[in-house]
């Protein structure tokens, strides 16, 4: 049954995987290809492309090296050996926003700081996520009523994905928030949305 397909020069797995998204016939060819590979005694895994992309994204969330106040001390503790954020693939703190996926806003954001934070966020490539760590970033914290200089929550100038309550939050809380973010990423459908949904779908992507 599959012999005539195998007569043509076999495309690479990457080519087939890319074509399979657009043309279901390519998917059939891909599955035959896999059967052929299996026959050679090699291991093969098959997964929906969305899941594969989400898995790689959620397992390598690189945060931006960015601490503003006391919450940053807890963030550093989370990154250090005892709590070891690297277990979740999120231990590679990047010194430039161009390489970062996640912005952990760890500390009080003052009115003077807010435009700088926004600029760093704008410099990060998509897809990007923001974590509001600590009471100050969620709603002003201890400065919420009388602090003339503190922005009462970073959601006033940034789209926040996860809030981590605490003053400051313990490392366990930050890890919990990271795992929450991983679940959030896992629910995303990056490929399906881009290729199979109508371009002018009224449904919002994220």
């Amino acid at each position: 049954m599959g012999t005539e397909i195998l007569k043509t020069p076999a495309p690479t797995a990457e080519e087939l995987l890319g074509r399979a998204v657009q043309d279901p016939r390519d998917l059939t060819r891909y599955l035959y290809y896999l059967r052929n590979v299996r026959a050679e005694g090699l291991s093969v895994a098959v997964a929906p492309l969305d899941a594969a992309i989400n898995w790689s994204r959620a397992s390598s969330i690189w945060p931006l090296t960015f601490g503003i106040a006391c919450c940053a001390i807890e963030m550093m503790a989370t990154g250090a050996a005892k709590y070891d954020l690297d277990r979740f693939g999120a231990g590679a703190f990047r010194p430039t926003p161009r390489q970062a996926d996640l912005m952990i806003v760890a500390g009080t954001v003052t009115h003077k700081m807010a435009p700088r934070v926004r600029r760093l966020y704008d410099q990060m490539p998509e897809p990007k996520f923001v974590m509001a760590m600590g009471a100050c970033t969620i709603g002003g914290g201890p400065y919420s009523r009388l602090g003339y200089h503190v922005v009462k929550g970073i959601d006033r100038f940034l789209p926040v994905d996860v809030c981590v309550p605490g003053c400051p939050p313990r490392p366990e809380a930050l890890i919990d928030a990271l795992m929450y973010l991983q679940r959030k990423i896992a629910a995303d459908r990056p490929v399906t949305d881009r290729y199979l949904r109508p371009f002018f779908s009224k449904e919002k992507r994220r």
Binding site: H111, A114, Y148
Partner: protein
């Protein structure tokens, strides 16, 4: 030297510019000065062989609602004694000579006092706000300060 002895020494040199000694009810005693004589007094405090105040610990300003006080805490590493100077300033136009040429430490301390209290330090090399943004209005640590409702498009409520 204890503060009392320093006061006696300054009184001999500067006369009326140094106010009379008052025993503090609580806390440290301070030497009250006329604001005009502050710079000369400080040069003497630094250079006199019996005083040798080589370190300015801090400059702070206090809003007493009818006046503004500037407080200078001094320390001598060489002789291990300390002193606190206090000058009273007009609240509507607080002005006093900068000490940044006597102790370079004063530069940032005075910028902070300017930022928070609006005290103008004359002959300061770079008197700008140090903590708040340049375009901030008002001096936040004054007792009658009202926080802005909005800054830079972000509300404060």
């Amino acid at each position: 030297m204890n503060p009392r002895e320093i006061h006696t020494l300054l009184k001999e040199r500067f006369g009326e510019a140094v106010r009379d000694w008052t025993e503090p009810e609580v806390g440290d005693s301070s030497l009250d000065l006329d604001s005009g004589s502050l710079h000369d007094v400080c040069v003497l405090l630094r250079d006199d062989s019996a005083l040798r105040f080589d370190f300015l610990r801090l400059v702070s300003a206090v809003d007493r609602t009818d006046r503004i006080e500037c407080v200078y805490h001094l320390w001598s590493y060489e002789l291990a004694h300390s002193a606190a100077l206090r000058v009273e300033l007009d609240r509507s136009d607080p002005r006093v000579a900068s000490l940044s040429d006597v102790w370079p430490t004063a530069e940032w301390h005075e910028r902070e006092a300017y930022d928070m209290m609006g005290v103008v330090f004359e002959n300061h090399p770079h008197l700008h706000r140090i903590l708040l943004p340049e375009d901030w209005e008002g001096y936040p640590l004054r007792k009658d300060y009202v926080a802005p409702r909005e800054y830079n498009g972000l509300t404060n409520e």
